[in-house]
């Protein structure tokens, strides 16, 4: 058995009197592609926020590559190799697509402040290198021709892709995708599935995807596992076929059937 990359143990968080996440444990092995589904308000995004420490848990443990990351600041966690996208897109609106991606590379600047002021040959080389890498990423997500467009001026679907490219630029080992297919039609979903699968195989990321489009999740996780959350608790875990036939899951999504 290979060593797990992410280990969440008995994670619990309360918002006031509401238990948003209740005793959730998730483990991921390197290179895995795991789905996270559940009805609205099940606590899926909250789990992402807990992993990246946007929210502090009430109880529980999170370790990444064997090291405890609980209480580390979000930027530190990002530097350690966890990156994410957001449910409601959070790009830098006035920056160009290229600048958005570039930021992921240099959020920890690669030269000193003094070098920034005089722009030594070394600093210039680093900048050219970063530019090349950012362009490569834009090419992967098919945004190269939009590289100089302002992020806010891009259509919705492209903004989602741009956000993925930006997350990839931080050179993560674990990539958290929060509803990448939200608001997309079937054709766009199919393109997205292809893109995400390509990213997963070429970049060797470990990935967790939150998604409401069942066909997207079932397709992407067909060789892997899906976790189902309901009302903050883990309801089920298994392969797509197991999940689809699990009576608890069906009940959570469709409600109770009354047998008179």
């Amino acid at each position: 058995m290979s060593e797990e990359i992410l280990n969440i143990k008995n994670l619990t968080v309360d918002f006031g009197g509401v238990r948003a996440v209740n005793n959730v444990s998730i483990t991921l092995e390197p290179g895995e592609f795991v789905g996270l589904i559940g009805p609205n308000g099940a606590g899926k995004t909250t789990i992402f926020n807990l992993i990246t420490n946007a929210i502090r848990p009430t109880a529980g443990e999170i370790s990444f590559k064997g090291k405890n990351i609980l209480g580390k600041s979000p930027d530190r966690i990002c530097q350690l190799g966890i990156s994410r996208t957001f449910q409601n897109i959070r790009l830098f609106p006035q920056m160009t697509a290229y600048e958005n991606v570039e930021l992921g590379f240099h959020s920890e600047p690669h030269y000193s402040l003094a070098e920034a002021f005089v722009r030594t040959p070394r600093a210039r080389r680093i900048e050219i290198d970063t530019r090349k890498k950012a362009m490569e990423l834009l090419e992967i997500v098919n945004l190269k021709e939009h590289s100089h467009a302002r992020a806010s001026s891009l259509p919705y679907g492209l903004q989602r892709r741009l956000e993925m490219a930006r997350a990839m630029a931080t050179n993560p080992e674990l990539l958290l995708l929060d509803e990448p297919a939200a608001g997309m039609n079937d054709d766009e979903c199919n393109d997205l599935i292809k893109l995400i699968r390509e990213i997963h195989t070429t970049m060797k990321y470990t990935m967790i995807i939150i998604e409401h489009h069942m066909n997207v999740v079932m397709d992407l996780c067909r060789d892997s596992r899906i976790y189902v959350l309901n009302l903050g608790s883990l309801l089920a875990m298994g392969t797509p076929t197991e999940i689809q036939s699990n009576p608890d899951v069906i009940r959570a999504y469709l409600g109770e059937t009354k047998n008179d």
Partner: protein, 318 residues
């Protein structure tokens, strides 16, 4: 001629301070109404270095700027640690600047009481007692050398603009811009908020300090009344009018805001009313400022150069 020189010098000094505010407010999105405080700290410190320790004038100015930059950590570290943003940070800077001004107001009496001290805490500060008396409190720090002239100011403005451009286009500057646009996303993408904001504040305070130094060596004396909240709000006005995420905007307005009151001397009392009115107009019709998001660049010069150069090449080929 002397009158025009005065306007150019005061305008240039204002431009340098406005560039500092542009880096902090325009690029990092942190509003400040306390940069007069950093100007005061830089001005007094460089005056002390040059007059009391005989440091050469340019080095004195740089030391003054560095001192102002270091002092910015006093307010920056606790404010950014506790994640003060927007108005709250602005109020913190205002408090810092007013505290600085009031301390300077009382240097003379502080120095006198230290000199008179026979025992206790006064003894600890005994060596700086005479210096504090010299600073003169409200009466001002008198008879400084005055090497600031048009040439010095123009060179300083060009250097300041060059280095500001270098900073905002560097990886550090781009991280600052990211923070101004979406702080949460920036942090999630790995930007260290505390460090990046402190760097922006340091550079910004350094600029203000240098402007203060130039001012000291132009007027040949310093009094705390130069550095009131009016000065700070003038600088903020320059950046808000000139445009956020722009260097050239604040440069132009920073200069105009000095020239205008000079030209309209008779309307001096009306100035603040006119400012307030203009503020409202700009905020309604152009919230990003007159030249907001217009990056200073030399693309036009490059295009021009290419045109000439290419034509030469073409004629060589042909």
């Amino acid at each position: 001629m002397g009158y025009i020189n005065t306007i150019i010098i005061l305008g240039g000094i204002n431009i340098i301070a406005a560039l500092g505010v542009a880096i902090l407010t325009g690029y990092t999105g942190l509003f400040t109404i306390g940069h007069a405080g950093f100007m005061a700290l830089g001005g007094y410190m460089s005056a002390i270095f040059v007059k009391e320790f005989g440091v050469p004038f340019p080095i004195g100015i740089l030391l003054g700027g560095t001192f102002a930059g270091l002092c910015s950590f006093i307010i920056g570290y606790p404010a950014f640690r506790s994640q003060l943003r927007g108005d709250y940070f602005a109020v913190a800077t205002l408090g810092f600047s007013e505290a600085t001004r009031l301390l300077l107001n009382n240097t003379r009496s502080m120095g006198e009481s230290i000199n008179a001290a026979e025992s206790g805490i006064g003894m600890v500060f005994k060596p700086i007692g005479p210096l504090l008396v010299k600073l003169g409190g409200v009466f001002g720090y008198m008879s400084l050398p005055s090497p600031t002239n048009v040439f010095v100011v123009v060179v300083a403005v060009i250097l300041a603009l060059f280095f500001a451009h270098m900073f905002v286009t560097s990886q550090y500057g781009k991280n600052c811009i990211a923070i101004s646009q979406d702080e949460v996303a920036a942090q999630m993408m790995g930007v260290n908020l505390l460090k990046t904001k402190m760097i922006a504040l340091f550079v910004s305070a350094f600029y203000a300090g240098v402007a203060g130094g130039l001012m000291a060596f132009y007027f040949a004396y310093l009094t705390p009344s130069f550095f009131t909240i009016t000065k700070s709000s003038d600088l903020l006005a320059a950046v808000v009018f000139g445009g956020i995420q722009s260097l050239i905007g604040p440069v132009i307005t920073g200069f105009i805001l000095v020239v205008f009151p000079e030209l309209l001397r008779t309307f001096a009392e009306w100035r603040l009313i006119i400012y307030g009115f203009l503020f409202v107009i700009v905020m309604i019709f152009r919230p990003q400022g007159l030249l907001g998001y217009v990056e200073m660049n030399f693309e036009f010069a490059r295009a021009w150069w290419n045109k000439i150069f290419r034509r030469k090449q073409n004629s060589q080929e042909g």
